[in-house]
Amino acid sequence: MGHGSTIDLSTENRTLGSLSGKLIGFGAVLAAFGLVGTLLLGMLEGAFDEAPAQSHESAASHGQSDPGTAPSAAQQQHPAAQEKHHEVIHGFVTEWSIWHPYLVSVCFFLTVTLGALFFVLTHHVTNAGWSTVVRRIAEGVSRNVVLMALILIPIVTPGPMGQLYKWFQPDPSDEIIAVKASYLDYDWFLVRLGCYFLIWTILAWGYHRSSVAQDQDGDVRRTSRMSSFSPLGVLLFALSITFAAYDLLMSLDAHWFSTIFGVYIFAGSVLSFHALLALLIVWLQANGRLTRAITDDHMQDIGKMMFAFTVFWAYIAFSQYMLLWYANIPEETIWFLRRQSTWMWGFWGWMLIIGRFFVPFLFLMSRHIKRKRLTITIGALWMLAMQWADMYYLVMPQISNGQQFPFKMVDVTIVLGMAGVYIIGLALSLRGHSLIAERDPRMPESLAFENA
Amino acid sequence: MSRDPIFRPWMDQLLKLLGAGAAVTGLYAVLMVYFGLSPKTLSAGYMPQQPVPYSHALHVGELGLDCRYCHTTVESAAFAAVPPTQTCINCHEKIAPTSHKLDPVRNSFVSGLPVQWIKVHDLPDYVYFNHSAHVTRGVSCVECHGRIDQMEEVHQVKPLSMGWCLGCHRNPASHLRPVDRVTDLDWGLDRTEEEKAAQGNEIMKGLGLIDESGLPTTRLTLLTNCSTCHR
């Protein structure tokens, strides 16, 4: 039972060491496989064909929609016309492009990374003791925001922007987009994204650097400083993740709006990071790292956080769905109607309800599940898959108004490739220093932690 | 060191009894409220003493007056009018002109002030009930008022509760009869339930409550709509 504070960290294998090379190699193979696969399959699936010209559509909308009628009104009055020319009337529906699965993948890894940043910040805000042994891993993951910024760059070039975001080249007759044109403006969008990544990078690298420096000098004032800055950090994080969610995901449908959207992305983000954390710990321990420092008790707490955020995600998702469903206002429900318009998207929604809430809810309830490495691994892999499915659900139904289920093999190969790159980033971020915040003043407390 | 415990061992037995007693009392209270406060108990059987001992059994049952002779508006208005004194005087000018029982009627006729009849079947103000809507669609007087034609003194027979109204509104068939038989309170007493239902279904078809194949129409759902009775 009790292991007391008797673990001597110096006897612990606590650097990545040779694993770093293995990790980079594996990441490179995965990335290469993803790249080649994407290219080959993309070629087969026609992903790189000339994208349907935007100008064609806008010209069509010029000709066909009455400039005096607001588009939403037009939808109301002419459901049949809407059915037939949906791409004309909706100012927010796009055609499939390779950038859609790319965006899904970017958002998936970005949310996981931001979850890590939140983990670090929030554990400083609350002066948490139990988590000190795993905080370094979170710090390492959070540094990948820089990598995510690099991966995001192709999307924010004009070509992909035009294919993803209808507001990039709105129909002149689209009055709703015209209202918010000052916000949904390309330059301003780039500035905002720059700010978000700047905030995240400064926070992630700053906390990581201070923490690693403490390994050397053991200065407890570093902990005080990190702790006292963290409330402001959380504030900046909350605002930046909210608006990043609006910019990257909500504005895919530039007509649609939901005040809870930022919280929704946040919930999935923290949830999926805890899953990744559990996976990383299991993998590190399987390779003989930190085998005694991180105990079943810590795993149980990580599992508890997964459980808590599973419920929190369901709560936020239900709040959003319920309020839109009940009020039944067309410009709001269109977002969900689009996601229920074919049986495949309907199935996907149910898969999220059951797979992202009920299954993990029941699965993670038992403490034994949370403490056993095999079961927590299954749970964590499942949660990550569900986070991807969630991002897929946010992005892909925008294509052709949800009338088709646009699954292609590149959806998978892009994620695999990006995972390879992400793993390389992780290896670079985690190597060269200890995997555990060695001289953190709360380390004894964390090592002795018992989950009552 | 000993102390005197404030409770004795036998009190634990009492505690169990008290627990059981509380459960029984709770159930009893619920049942009392449910049955005791039901209109079946509180309202059915209501028989106020009227200023004039008017006998429906005599006038309707024996003499064969039609309901509509006195309650003239019943087919055309929401309210089934209580007859004015003149209606009574039509006959009682000649019949029993000196009876003391009829003093209030004659006084009323002289003074012009109405007889203070006491309303027996009184619905709450938030209920909209239309006599004509029922009578002209084949709901007989007897369905709500019972055998008025046999009553010496009028009293409430049915509970007139919302659940009771709904019983018919949900399943009207067996409560319908040909419109011309509405005021014949003793008509069709020997019909079996199947006959009643068959006859009722034909009438409902005529009213458009069910379609030719016997399936309910939208009109039928209106019978249980809140705003049908609460306007």
Partner: protein, 493 residues
């Protein structure tokens, strides 16, 4: 009131027997490598019992009588105006045609919100192993119960025919009619009813061992009987503790989603509608954060004077208060975040009525109420960025009062502005409360404080049992443990 108490202190306060009145010790110093003790002073199991029980065992002081009688006389307003309302009907309220929801719903939401801190402290902080909850959870839970009682008053009377309140429940009846389960108002009935029941069970269960302490210390036969019945025969049996602890943990795990759900359901009352300014998807978490915010403020308002009055300064220490201030600040910022999101999305949506609703809030007829709300809820807690302010009793007391005011106005702003200026400009009207509105609101405060005064007087104000556990954990590392099986490490206390 605090200054008054300070002046009159010696006359009004209880005389402390055994251990003298606790001194004010600043234990808020932050040091990463050494967690400062939660409890100042040198209490052990014996003195903890003495300290907490003497509040109940002593004769009531003049100060308590003054507080009680003042609250009770304000409660009298309810006794007058509720019958008046039932007799004359809701026409005696200030509600008018567009503003059909007035003070009744504002007060309902306000009190339900107040009732969220107790269960948060007892359940969520319990799950998060925040041991500082132990000194304050009992009083906060009691406050929750009383606040929910005050809240429950309003749905009961607001329909006018109070004797038909039972129609809210799915009871078989002669109407053969069931409640409409698709209505958020009915969800409220279930949410608030469940919340009250579960909070009551949670509170009572936590009190059982402490009631047993009172029973075993009681001298007066009446006290022996009453506490004997209430303690249910608790003997501190470990076989009982074993089940009890599991039950407490499970109740905490159940109460946590419950506390989130209750104010979410209250927010549904507004947010499922199509009224501009009400229909916003962030309402559920936003309402929950606001509820916790206001609840903590009310706990602060009650505890800052109470710890002085009852000599509990080394049990409810500055560190407890500082932690609560941090939560007030955090939830205040979540509320501020939600205000900001609503404004941004109202503009971003491009929907004219939405835009109007929010501009109207800030600059329309009710701008005064809006800016009271913003300055009290968003600006005033910002002072807690400074540690000196977080640990100043005067500042935190004032801020807690301001937050209470601000959160009341938040509900007022939401309810009234959106209704007063709705989709039909020709119907717009200004809402002015009438005497009955104000009197019933004040009366509900009287009810709340009366119940709280009675609680202080007759129930264990602090969870002695849990404090003993904290003391045991804190002292354990120094004592020589006989074997490995004993206890948790000192960490975290």
């Amino acid at each position: 009131m605090k200054e008054l108490l300070d002046k009159l202190g010696p006359i009004l306060r209880p005389e402390f027997t055994g251990n003298a009145e606790s001194p004010e010790i600043d234990n808020t110093a932050y040091s990463p490598d050494n967690r400062t003790p939660l409890l100042t002073g040198s209490d052990d199991n014996t003195t903890i019992s003495d300290k907490v029980c003497q509040i109940v065992e002593q004769k009531p002081t003049i100060g308590w009588w003054m507080f009680f009688l003042l609250s009770f006389s304000v409660l009298g307003l309810l006794g007058v105006f509720v019958p008046f309302l039932i007799f004359w009907g809701v026409g005696t309220w200030g509600v008018n045609n567009p503003v059909g929801w007035g003070y009744a719903i504002v007060n309902f939401v306000f009190w339900i919100g107040i009732g969220h801190a107790g269960t948060l402290i007892s359940a969520i902080l319990f799950l998060f192993r925040q041991k500082w909850r132990t000194s304050i959870n009992r009083a906060a839970e009691a406050m929750t119960i009383f606040a929910v009682i005050c809240a429950g008053l309003f749905p009961g009377i607001h329909v006018g025919r109070a004797w038909f309140a039972y129609w809210m429940f799915p009871i078989p009846n002669q109407m053969e009619l069931w409640p409409n389960f698709r209505s958020p108002l009915l969800w409220d009935v279930f949410a608030v009813g469940t919340y009250f029941t579960v909070s009551l069970m949670f509170w009572y269960m936590g009190m059982m061992p402490d009631l047993a302490t009172l029973r075993d210390r009681a001298k007066h036969p009446l006290r022996k009987v009453v506490y004997g019945i209430l303690a249910m025969g608790w003997t501190g049996s470990h076989r009982h503790w074993h089940v009890y602890e599991r039950a407490y943990l499970l109740l905490a795990a159940l109460a946590t989603p419950l506390v989130l759900s209750v104010h979410s359901v209250v927010s549904f009352d507004f947010a499922v509608s199509q009224v501009a300014g009400w229909h916003s998807t962030i309402f559920p978490p936003y309402f929950v954060a606001g509820a916790i915010f206001s609840g903590f403020a009310m706990v602060m308002t009650l505890l800052v004077p109470a710890r002085q009055f009852f000599g509990l300064k080394d049990v409810i220490t500055l560190k407890h208060l500082e932690n609560m201030n941090k939560i007030i600040m955090l939830t205040g910022m979540i509320v501020g975040y939600s205000y900001a999101q609503e404004f941004f999305i109202a503009w971003y949506s491009g929907v004219n009525v939405e835009k109007f609703a929010f501009i109207n809030r800030a600059f329309g007829q009710y701008a005064w109420a809006y800016w009271i709300m913003v300055s009290c809820n968003v600006l005033s807690p910002q002072i807690f960025w400074f540690k000196k302010m977080r640990t100043s009793l005067v500042v935190m007391f004032i801020v807690s009062i301001l937050v209470n005011i601000g959160m009341w106005f938040e509900r007022f702003v939401i309810v009234v502005t959106s209704l007063a200026n709705d989709y039909t400009p020709s119907a717009w009207d200004y809402y002015t409360p009438k005497l009955t509105d104000v009197a019933i609101m004040l009366g509900s405060f009287g009810l709340f404080f009366t119940l709280f005064a009675l609680f202080c007087r007759f129930m264990p104000f602090v969870a002695m049992t849990e404090l003993r556990g904290v003391l045991a954990a804190a002292t354990h590392s120094t004592s020589t443990a006989p074997d490995d099986t004993s206890g948790k490490p000192a960490a975290g206390s």
